[in-house]
Amino acid sequence: MKDKNISDQLQNSVEQAIQTKTKLIIKAGGSKDFYGRTAIGKELNISEHQGIISYEPSELFITVRAGTLLKDIESVLAENNQMLAFEPPAFGDKATIGGTIACNLSGPRRAYSGAARDFVLGTKIINGQAEVLSFGGEVMKNVAGYDVSRLITGAMGTLGVLLEVSLKVVPKPETEITLVHQLNIDEALLKMHQWSTQSIPITASCYHQNQLTIRLSGTEKYINTLQHLIGGEVLTDADSFWHSVKEQSHHFFDSKKPLWRLSVASNSEITSQNDDTFYEWGGALRWIKTNTSQNETPHPLNGHISLFRSPTKINDTFQPLPKHLLQIHRNLKQAFDPHGIFNIGRMYQQF
């Protein structure tokens, strides 16, 4: 892993962009280029800004430069038997922690441990006035000032350039086991709801083509007991299975059709055909492959929809915001990026 600090250079670039009224596209590994809309402007590359600034296993946090590769962070944590609890998808070898946090993307463990935003303790950013600012910190509890770090998480670079991120890390579970049940979707959702009220330590779940697959984590002895309680067939190649779900290399995702992401209440009605739907997060995340356009794809009543991958870019990737909420977003954009230079149009056309 490289250890290089290019903050000054990045700050200069932002200053220049302000002076020359140039819009900037913040970019690192480019692994999430497919996601969201396409921003307009000149590229500001942060890939070189790499390195672990501090990592203290017993304090359960790590502070890294935004350009650090996700896989490098994960292997350093693994050496200490720790991990990122939100199991972020990388979507490529070049994925950086900056892009991961900017997109707030979380993997199979999300429904059970929390999303990227839940583990962000602090950030250092360059705002739209070329000022380097720090928010939050490296401690678990911190309510001094507004929670800008979580606001920045998932803002897709529209509010500033991420320079550093501090994340809470967690110990790896002692053992994991993955069990497969043959069920129809209604039975599967029911089962998952039952298990979740019984403190069963599920840490991942997915459903496709009549197969409910769940992962349990805990101490060895406990997992053995649970296996008998819950039943199902043991999946031997579990790690690579969950990797394929997380990275969308599972055969379900191997398709030319647009891929829609529905984030809904886990007990929402089943609206689409079995083969074209893949469920995760106990039913709260649903992937649908369909050729229907945005206008024809109904907005779910109990959640929201986004176009996750598409062979052709369309105008609204994310579900449009209600009027007053949109106004607050614009105001916040103005507050952080008054000259309107960062990732314009990356998230929504209006900002």
Partner: protein, 495 residues
């Protein structure tokens, strides 16, 4: 107590006319303005700060809240929201020429969804009342501030409150799913949603901990958890606080995250023992209370592992609660630590800094030195697992010691910043920690906070003067505190 009002200049509003305008929105008994009626609202849990508002409004529908805010926005009348008033940083302290908006009447549980494990409640519902309302389903709401019998969920969201079980279950921000808020222009907005995420910026997180500065919370949907099946508690005594601090690090390094991990120092142990007779070892310099919850097999295994770690970390005594009764006794002293310390002295002042755990010994030593310098005793009770300290400064206001206590408190918070921590872990900045905000944040960061607030509240009508200090205040303060010839904010013009 100086107000942070330098930049605020709101027009004087005629009380009679205001009452008339409010009476078109609220019933007469929901508008209070006589001194004896508004006196109970003059302070929150930090009673050293007191201020009567111009008027108190007690709405009980969202529509009324919308209309009140529209009115305030129109006539430029400042609004301070108040939940149960248990806050410890003066966050709900009224504004002298403003309206105090009490959410006390919003006390209904709206919906419990067993399948989704959520509860939707009004903001004035008490924290513990949520767990009570869902207890028959085997569920509970995890964040458990010590004030949970009294504090409101709206206040919890506004402060991002934590509790003794936050180490494992997180803070308020990790346990809520949706908020409805009313903005200063009277619009009702939904943040978050029924799914696990929502489109756009994470305004749910931004609203959490925003101390009533960005909007009024009128509905909260919380996540519920199944009650743990099995709970086990250990109590360990140490003859040296350094060892106790090391024991905490050793437990976490072993890959175990207890549900709670609390520490008390000698003075706190003695006070608690005198008050509730929990049987704490009086010869100890520090005790740790460690709780594990989950499934019996797993908990039993972890308890054995922790027992070994505690012994290896030089604990002079380790007890494991043999039954529920003994477990309650272990906790009794900790849960009553504040009132217990309160019996030692006419007044006490509760601080709330967070530090990296490994700095604990150093910080405890420095606090002891400060306590000697100021000649005021300090008892320590803290959420050791997440490094959140609650030093309790003992003082006597009748002897004019308040100022000295505040100064000592300020020094302790600055110490927390120095070692890489923060001035508030869960109680918020409110009115109390404005000066320390000047130390924790640079001028540009404070300006960014002000700009963020203006995105919601351009006229600055919501809770004016709280949470974020003006640059003017910091500059003045900087002029008073020159360290080693260096001014904290050299970039600012001196006033």
């Amino acid at each position: 107590m100086s107000q942070n009002s330098a930049e605020h200049d709101f027009p004087v509003v005629d009380l009679q006319q205001l009452v008339k305008q409010l009476s078109s929105i609220l019933a007469d008994d929901s508008i209070l303005y006589q001194e004896e009626d508004i006196r109970p609202y003059e302070c929150d849990g930090l009673s050293a700060y007191q201020q009567l508002p111009l008027v108190v409004a007690l709405p009980d529908t969202i529509e009324q809240v919308q209309k009140i805010l529209q009115l305030c926005n129109k006539i430029n009348l400042p609004v301070v929201a108040r939940g149960a008033g248990t806050g410890l940083s003066g966050g709900a302290l009224p504004y002298e020429k403003g309206l105090l908006l009490s959410l006390g009447k919003f006390n209904k549980v709206i919906e419990i969804n067993q399948q989704l494990q959520t509860a939707t409640v009004q903001p004035g519902v008490r924290n513990l009342a949520i767990s009570e309302a869902v207890s028959h389903l085997g569920l509970y709401y995890a964040p458990d501030p010590s004030s949970q019998i009294a504090c409101s969920i709206g206040g919890n969201v506004a402060e991002n409150s934590g509790g003794v079980h936050s180490l494992k279950y997180g803070l308020t921000v990790h346990n809520i799913q949706q908020l409805k808020i009313v903005t200063i222009d009277g619009e009702l907005i939904t943040l978050g949603g029924t799914g696990l995420d929502s489109p756009g910026y994470d305004l749910l997180a931004l609203m959490t901990g925003s101390e009533g500065m960005l909007g009024i919370i009128v509905e909260v949907t919380v996540k519920l958890l199944p009650k743990p099946k099995y709970v086990q508690t250990l109590l360990a005594a140490f003859d040296d606080v350094v060892n106790a601090g090391q024991a905490v690090a050793n437990i976490i390094s072993a890959g175990i995250i207890p549900a709670g991990l609390e520490m008390m120092d000698k003075l706190a142990i003695q006070a608690a023992e005198d008050f509730v007779h929990a049987g704490y070892p009086l010869d100890a310099e520090a005790i740790l209370i460690c709780e594990l919850d989950g499934i019996e097999d797993e908990v039993t295994e972890q308890v054995a592992a922790i027992h070994t770690i505690l012994k290896q970390s030089s604990a002079i005594e380790v007890r494991i609660a043999k039954d529920e009764q003994e477990r309650i006794v272990f906790w009794k002293g900790r849960k009553n630590a504040f009132p217990a310390v309160g019996r030692l002295s006419p007044d006490y002042y509760c601080m709330d800094g967070t530090i990296p755990r490994k700095r604990l010994p150093q910080v405890l030593q420095a606090m002891e030195d400060l306590s000697k310098t100021y000649n005021l005793a300090v008892a320590n009770v803290f959420h050791a697992g997440d490094g959140n300290l609650h030093p309790l400064i003992l003082y006597d206001a009748s002897k004019g010691q308040l100022e000295k206590a505040e100064e000592l408190g300020g020094k302790i918070l600055e110490l927390c910043i120095e070692v890489g921590g923060t001035i508030t872990g869960e109680h918020g900045v409110g009115m109390e920690k404005l000066n320390q905000m000047c130390v924790q944040f640079k001028a540009a960061e404070l300006s960014q906070f002000h700009a963020l607030k203006a995105a919601f509240d351009p006229k600055g009508l919501l809770n004016p003067g709280k949470a974020i200090p003006t640059l003017h205040r910091c500059a003045e303060l900087g002029a008073m505190h020159v360290h080693d010839g260096k001014l904290p904010h050299p970039e600012l013009e001196r006033f």
